[in-house]
Symmetry: C2
Subunit: 361 residues, 2 copies
């Protein structure tokens, strides 16, 4: 099979981790007889340096013409804040939110599970995680507060700002269908999270999700309020299989969920739309403080590449091969520094971690 | 001193826990020479049974005419959902949100700290909590998505629902001032949480908070994005002193924060406005499953009564006396069943816990 993959190395550690993922993809291509043609585009700080904007329309066109997009990370941290806090002219509207909207990527999938080998790093007590946990957050990605009308104006001399949270039936239905389809292949449970005791949009959300559920009699639907969900994630993460939620709640809950795994450097993500074209990226950020030091953990990006093979290119066997290789390298005791502990056999750099995974495919 | 306290026992365990708080208040009145006059009103399911609505205007008038309001809990759980999920006609608009708005209670204060005696129940690993944590969430309570315009309508045959998130300068300024005043009496740090990389309302929030910060040079201000905050709470709760945030983010984060303490049955809360009048209630719910069984933990309500003495009645000494009595009873090894562990000297019921606290004042 021959396919076109757009690479967006981005900023910070992005280029290094995407580089390792490409090594792994090349090994897969070799072994399974595929041809992956790569095109690189700029996004984030590096695009601003070159073109004055975080993402050009031309770059988006290249993505659209490809079968899948693999993204490293964009932006950098400044202290505890992220880059766009300190540079409001570089708002994500023009970068990450633009690519999501332009490619129609309405479904963001973020798996969060406890790695047996990395239990040490999990912030939750062992009694809570003794049976492990393995969930996937299905977050609506092109609606809600992120893309609603907004306005800041002066009313009677007082500054006032307004954002709007809108969802229609169709937007809710298509993301709900994604969640139920995924649940069907997993533990057959969907927890739909909303704030239906307060919001009209959540009441519509709940209504439509319940309608969709009727077509999936093999899947159990549970409704949960967002504040309760934020608690349940910490108290009993094992209860979740698929969490389905709207854009802003999904932003908050997926970050909370990835943090309780203790291995955010290991978690991949996929953003999907109506077609096969998808965007794949690690759940972590661009970590500018360690950029170029050969310290970054490439595993989340390599696993994102595996998701890409599975969801956009229908190469399940190949995806399995990558995932198994990652598991093998971990069980052999190799770790990058972010996930190292006393039991680690060898702490390795970014490139060596990539090589080890390649060698196991 | 003579003052008027409105009691709202509410539903579920509400009447029991408020009963214990009243015993404690009466002991304080005795010992320190005050007169507390109580008026009871109905709210929640019990008010619906009696009047058809969760809160009558007459009941609100009684609250307004008093010096402070002590609330037990309203509503009941049905499975994992709360009552209003299954009974949309009993939406909180007509109850909890009505009382907040009618009394102008724009500031919700929810302390979340790790009880040394209750470390066992904390879901976070000891290495994360070894230095303890002690934060207070200051949540804006009468604005944002909770009270914005909303509408559900059909557009071209498709159902669409819209909520609006509006804040003006003055709403932000008054809650920011509360947070800075509180921080000044504590560890002098405010973490203001928003989503300024996406929302106009958050950008205005950040601007106004930064202006207010200029009047508090002794207090450090840090801005944090809400998704990051949801992670930091789990990873490093000790970094927080005062968390200042808008209504919906506050709802989510304060529940997450109380859950990581492992002792939600111990956490009080206060809702304050422009005047001294405040509403005080435990952070937990009405737990209908154990109602009437003399099993509920009255401590959160008793500590809410202490907050009431401190914030609405200026009786600091008296509030200290209650808090010290609670600490003493805990260190003596008495526990209600929700916080019991192997080391507990004696598991006691609701009423005995109240008696023990009374005896220590
Ligand atoms: C960068 C930001 C706009 C983005 C979001 O809020 O969606 C990020 O937090 C994410 O989760 O991908
Ligand atoms: C009952 C509900 C409307 C309420 C809220 O969301 O404010 C509750 O969750 C709370 O935090 O007091």
């Amino acid at each position: 099979m021959e396919c076109k993959i757009t690479l967006i190395p981005g900023d910070g550690i992005g280029p290094e981790i995407v580089g390792e993922a490409v090594k792994v993809l090349n090994k897969v291509a070799d072994k399974f007889g595929h041809t992956f043609n790569y095109t690189k585009i700029l996004m984030g700080g590096c695009s601003i340096d070159e073109y004055g904007v975080p993402l050009t329309d031309e770059a988006v066109e290249i993505c659209k013409a490809s079968d899948a997009v693999l993204l490293g990370a964009v932006g950098g941290n400044v202290g505890n804040s992220r880059w766009y806090d300190v540079a409001p002219n570089l708002r994500p509207e023009a970068g990450l939110l633009k690519i999501r909207k332009d490619l129609g990527l309405f479904a963001n999938l973020r798996p969060a599970y406890l790695y047996n080998e990395l239990r040490k790093a999990c912030p939750l007590k062992e009694e809570i995680t003794k049976d492990g946990f393995d969930m996937i957050i299905v977050r609506e990605l092109t609606g809600g507060l992120y893309f609603g009308e907004r306005e800041t104006k002066t009313v009677n001399g007082i500054l006032e700002a307004r954002d709007t949270l809108t969802y229609n039936e169709e937007e809710i239905r298509r993301i709900a269908i994604k969640a139920f389809e995924i649940a069907r292949k997993r533990k057959k449970k969907v927890t739909s999270v909303d704030k239906a005791n307060v919001l009209d949009s959540s009441r519509l959300w709940r209504k439509v999700v319940e309608e969709v559920a009727k077509d999936y009699e093999d899947v159990t639907l549970e409704n949960m309020l967002v504040d309760n969900c934020a608690m349940q994630l910490v108290m009993n993460p094992g209860q979740f299989d698929v969490i389905l939620t709207e854009n802003m709640f999904g932003d908050i809950l997926s970050d909370e969920a990835s943090m309780i795994t203790g291995s955010i450097g290991m978690l991949s993500s996929a953003s999907l739309g109506k077609t096969k074209l998808g965007l794949y990226e690690p759940s972590h950020g661009s970590a500018p403080d360690i950029a170029g030091l050969n310290k970054a953990n490439p595993i989340a990006t390599i696993l994102s590449a595996a998701m890409m093979l599975r969801y956009s290119l229908d190469l399940d066997k190949e995806a399995d091969a990558i995932e198994e290789a990652v598991a093998k390298v971990l069980s052999d005791g190799y770790r990058t520094v972010d996930i190292a502990s006393k039991e680690t056999k060898e702490v390795v750099g970014t490139d060596r971690m990539g090589d080890l995974i390649v060698a196991n495919i």
